[in-house]
């Protein structure tokens, strides 16, 4: 652990005093607050004259505001936090000549990369935690409903998955900052991979599904199922999809499956709706456990690759 504390301390001070962090945090906090306010006002109006359903507090996170829900917003813009915090983590040290100086101090070389990642994760945790707390506070005031214990647990789990998810993107950006000497190059590469996973994987999933299991006629439900399965498997390549699936089930107890297609006739649907019950927290976790484990695993794998590459690189001042 030699030296990690000193580097983490310095990195945290750098993060919290940097303009890029302040701007990003202000932007995300502003959008979150506006979304929560709109959603909260909507819920207050809709539920004013009826008995409030269970888990109304969680609706603050799942209900769609002016454009998107809070959960959707974090899924889409959360990666930016990780990318912005890490895209120049190593190559800036290298270009300013401080990397060789750091490495020549009595610390293990891995203390540098560990401290960079750790300080990024702490920053992400503080940032996301603060936003969730502020949103919850505003929600309490607007909706006037105190969250139950299960709701709190669901929010905590949502928070943990979100921290891991954003840390995955931090890991990606740190990896690029090791691989690319130019800061602009690593920034572009991180943006490109974010755009790829955000937009192109879902498009690619449709293309792959169409080519592997073309839908000539919609009358063959088995074929349709196979088509959708292929599309789903391909889309799970995207961490965004994994995160969306995990959080959607955890934060919305009424959702019982990650699949978008439920094969049920209209009569069956009506009849089952009368007995609709929310999933218990343990059951929700069970449904998305593979997704959550995968999000955590890819975060560690990504950091592991960064670690291995960094440790193999030679550190020179020029």
């Amino acid at each position: 652990m030699t030296g990690i504390g000193a580097i983490v301390r310095k990195e945290l001070a750098d993060h919290f005093s940097s303009y890029r962090f302040i701007i990003l945090f202000a932007l995300i906090a502003m959008v979150s607050l506006i979304t929560t306010y709109m959603v909260g006002m909507g819920l207050k109006e809709e539920l004013g004259s009826v008995a409030k359903p269970r888990f109304v507090f969680l609706m603050l996170f799942t209900s769609t505001g002016p454009v998107f829900s809070l959960v959707q917003f974090v899924a889409f813009f959360g990666p930016l936090i990780g990318l912005v915090l890490g895209f120049d983590a190593i190559n800036r040290e290298r270009s300013s000549g401080t990397l060789s100086k750091l490495a020549s101090q009595p610390i293990y070389r891995d203390a540098i990369i560990n401290a960079k990642f750790l300080s990024g994760v702490v920053t992400i945790a503080i940032m996301v935690g603060a936003i969730v707390l502020v949103v919850s506070g505003l929600g309490l005031k607007l909706v006037g409903v105190v969250p139950g214990l299960e709701e709190l647990w669901r929010i905590v789990i949502y928070l943990i998955i979100s921290i891991f998810y954003i840390s995955f993107w931090l890991g990606i950006s740190i990896l690029f900052s090791i691989l690319f000497r130019g800061i602009a190059t690593s920034a572009l590469a991180t943006l490109a991979i974010w755009i790829f996973f955000s937009f192109f994987v879902s498009m690619g999933a449709t293309v792959v599904a169409n080519s592997l299991v073309p839908l000539d006629t919609r009358e063959d439900p088995e074929r349709l199922m196979r088509h959708l399965r292929v599309q789903r498997v391909v889309s799970l390549v995207s961490p965004m999809q994994l995160y969306n699936d995990s959080t959607a089930i955890i934060i919305d107890p009424m959702r019982k499956t990650t699949r978008s297609l439920v094969l049920m006739g209209p009569i069956e649907r009506l009849s089952s709706a009368r007995f609709r019950r929310p999933l218990a927290l343990s059951q929700s976790i069970y449904v998305v456990l593979p997704h959550m484990i995968t999000v955590i695993a890819i975060t560690f794998i990504c950091f592991g690759v960064s670690y291995a590459v960094f440790m193999r690189q030679e550190i020179r001042s020029t």
């Binding site: 030699t2 030296g3 504390g5 000193a6 580097i7 301390r9 310095k10 750098d14 040290e93 300013s96 000549g97 401080t98 990397l99 060789s100 100086k101 750091l102 490495a103 020549s104 101090q105 009595p106 610390i107 293990y108 030679e314 550190i315 020179r316 001042s317 020029t318």
Partner: protein, 249 residues
Amino acid sequence: MAIVETHNLTKNYGGQVAVSDLTFTIEEGEIFGFLGPNGSGKTTTLLMLLGLTEPTGGWARVAEFNPTREPIEVKRIVGYIPESIGFYDDMDARENLRFIARLNNMADPVSSPKIEEALGSVGLSDEAEKKVGAYSRGMRQRLGIAEILIKEPRLAFLDEPTLGLDPEGTTRIIEYIESLSRDKNITILLSSHDLKQVQKIADRIGIMIHGQMIALGSLEKLAEEKLGVDDKEISLDDVYMRYFQEGSP
């Protein structure tokens, strides 16, 4: 007593030889001038001695420690100023030095008086509040010397510390380096192209060309060997150029 010792130290990058069978010693307390053209393997040697890169062959000992296996012990007793010295530009001189002190496990109450003393020694007390980004190259080099003073190492590796400095700045840095040796008894390994300044302060000189140490000894000894004179007025430039022209032995 030798504080640095290498035996057949070799470093290859793929098929390219950066350092080849390097064998030499540096005695405790001496100033060792490490000369050679660009790409001759001086920096690679320093990196191997610091444990920042692994040798392909041979071995090195720094104060009896093996830099490859015991890098922390080596780095604890070695101060290093790299060729392109880096500081955190958005921090002032004190903050930069405090960070280095923390990395050396020095508590703030212990490091604070040392920082003030070091800044005073290199004439940066009045500029200590300024962000290092606004420092001139000479000031940055002086701050590098202050870093070494804080660390109080037994040995200092200085890689081109006068590169890009004006004559006055060069003289000043050379004086500081000399005082590190004289007042603090720090052994100095000085890599430089500034032969006049090296001649002024170095006790012994090593000349590297193409990864090999082709000359090693005092200036008088080298002059006698290569030029056949033992004249005290001989300049290191003449000796160096003779070795350089002849290339490897």
